[in-house]
């Protein structure tokens, strides 16, 4: 009874913080302080010397360098490539995941087996593995190239759009490989739909097609947002993503260094924020539109 002076509420809170303490210390030391330090670096000239690092504030010089140097231009181009690619990849991955989830949610034999097959790429898709597959030409359906599809894209679009779009087709299978987790998310959402809803709709004369659009898709809508966010973050932090490669290579480059790298890391985060916002607004627009109807 010696803790009588502490009331129950405070005691509970102390216990909770003791559970959380390891994470909280880690967050402060390994994440939060580094975040602010990185922000400071991005406005500084960071020089590595024998005695350690010398950091001198230099305002927006790093950011100015991004928009005026060759390294900066390469980075900005890879970010715009990434943004264009993601505009295509996210819908491709989402639609594919929904189709596979609906198919796997049917009453069929070997469901577990098929689910295991479609989840397999998540297990093995590391940067170097994917890199090998793409470089050896195993990433594309042979038909796509034989039919001259990529030539067609190169001829129709301007260079800055054709490059990322052609990329998507030449890596189509690998892009689908990024849908494993999303398929499982959609299956879980589908299983939450009450069978009775479909039966009631059928009695009212709704066909399969109508049930799909009026029952299945609305039931999935929240999961679509989760899946889209997961897809974007997953692709954005994938190690073969060219934009994030720039951040690492510039760290030890002669003309640039830690300051410049920190600046482009923050610009990358900003771009990611814009991409997420755009998709969020699109999603909002769609769900509002559907409710009105």
């Amino acid at each position: 009874m010696r803790k009588k002076n502490l009331n129950r509420r405070t005691r509970e809170e102390l216990v909770a913080w003791s559970f959380m303490s390891i994470w909280v210390i880690g967050f402060l030391v390994l994440t939060m302080i580094p975040i602010f330090t990185s922000l400071y670096y991005s406005f500084s000239d960071v020089i590595l010397s024998g005695e350690g690092i010398i950091v001198t504030f230099n305002g927006f010089a790093n950011y100015a360098q991004v928009f005026s140097s060759a390294e900066g231009f390469n980075f900005l181009r890879s970010v715009s490539d990434f943004a264009i690619e993601i505009l295509f990849k996210v819908p491709i991955i989402t639609v594919f995941a929904i189709i596979i989830a609906v198919l796997l949610n049917q009453k069929i034999k070997g469901r577990g087996f098929f689910r295991a097959i479609y989840f397999l790429p998540v297990i093995i898709a590391s940067g170097p593995v994917i890199n090998q597959l793409i470089n050896q030409g195993a990433a594309t359906v042979p038909l796509v190239e034989e039919l001259g599809f990529i030539d067609l894209i190169n001829q129709t679009f301007s260079e800055s759009i054709a490059r990322p779009v052609a990329n998507i087709f030449s890596e189509l299978i690998i892009i689908l490989w990024f849908s494993g987790v999303q398929i499982l998310l959609f299956i879980a959402a589908l299983q939450k739909i009450d069978r009775a809803t479909y039966e009631a709709a059928m009695i009212d004369g709704a066909g399969v097609w109508e049930s799909f659009w009026k029952i299945t898709i609305p039931a999935l809508s929240n999961m679509v947002l989760v899946s889209v966010v997961f897809t974007i973050i997953n692709l954005a932090t994938f190690s073969e993503n060219e934009a994030i490669q720039h951040i690492k290579t510039n760290m030890f480059a002669l003309e640039t260094g830690f300051g410049f790298s920190s600046a482009i890391a923050w610009l990358y985060f900003l771009a990611l924020g814009i991409i997420l916002t755009v998709f969020f607004l699109i999603f909002k627009g769609f769900s509002k539109d559907r409710r009105r109807r």
Partner: protein, 305 residues
Amino acid sequence: MKKISKSKIKHFLLGKSFNDGFFGKISVYLLLIIIGFVYLFPLLKMFAYSIKDLEDLVNPTVQWIPTKLYLENYRISLKVLNYGVTLVFSLLVTLLPAILQTITTSLMGYALAKFKVRGKIIIFAIILLTYLLPVQVYMIPRYVLFDRFGILETAWAIILPAIFGQGLSSAIFILIFYQFFRMQPKSLDESAEIDGASAYQTFMKIGVPLAGPAYLTAFLFSFVWYWNETYTSSLFIGSDLYTLQLKLFNFTSQFNVTQGLSDQALNEAIRYSATILIILPVLLVYIIMQKWFVEGIDRTGITGE
């Protein structure tokens, strides 16, 4: 009689709705198999090519089935990757972080699920932010920090963030544990408290044993993601200590170092065999624990509201 059997046949073939009938079923299977084949095409091609010898590689009539089983590619890859030693180190920087991260994130998830904490919403917002904020933003100061600690180019650079729940996708695991612990009946904790158990005893004796599936799922995903991670590991553990993934990434130069003087040239069959050797450990884990990966997401209730 005839009428009945006719409607029965119709029922059998077409079913009440599209997915009940014979045709519906067949088309679902067919779609799943065809898409599945295209989906796994890169893997299948890789397996087929990895056992081809030079003759089969250049022979355009040999596509999927090599004329003979040729394992020399694997022998070369094992040597280039220095497989045994590298595998041990890879497991060290995969298993340890996975276990430690699972423990720390489970403590965090438990605290958020079971206790009233002021400002819980802010903590959740921070956790979500750590998920959205790419590691690139804070990895440079981390690099400087690890340099100061003197743990750069050691396994500690990977293990330390994991201990403190700041590793790979820690936010996701916290949410998994939060959801799971929240679903446990409160009455169990209350009766334990009445029996005089402290919060820590309740956690160890009731929380953890009942959360087996969540622990296993979190550990397995953590394991696989650490295995596949190369971006930060290449920065933090650098050039001397290679994991299998990093060796694969630098396979050409590795090949030139170990095989440079022999007359064997690097070809795609060797590359493919190396790639298979890299994915083999996780593939084995997946084959054995497949159910836990696929059903894990469901079972942990991460998809709940």
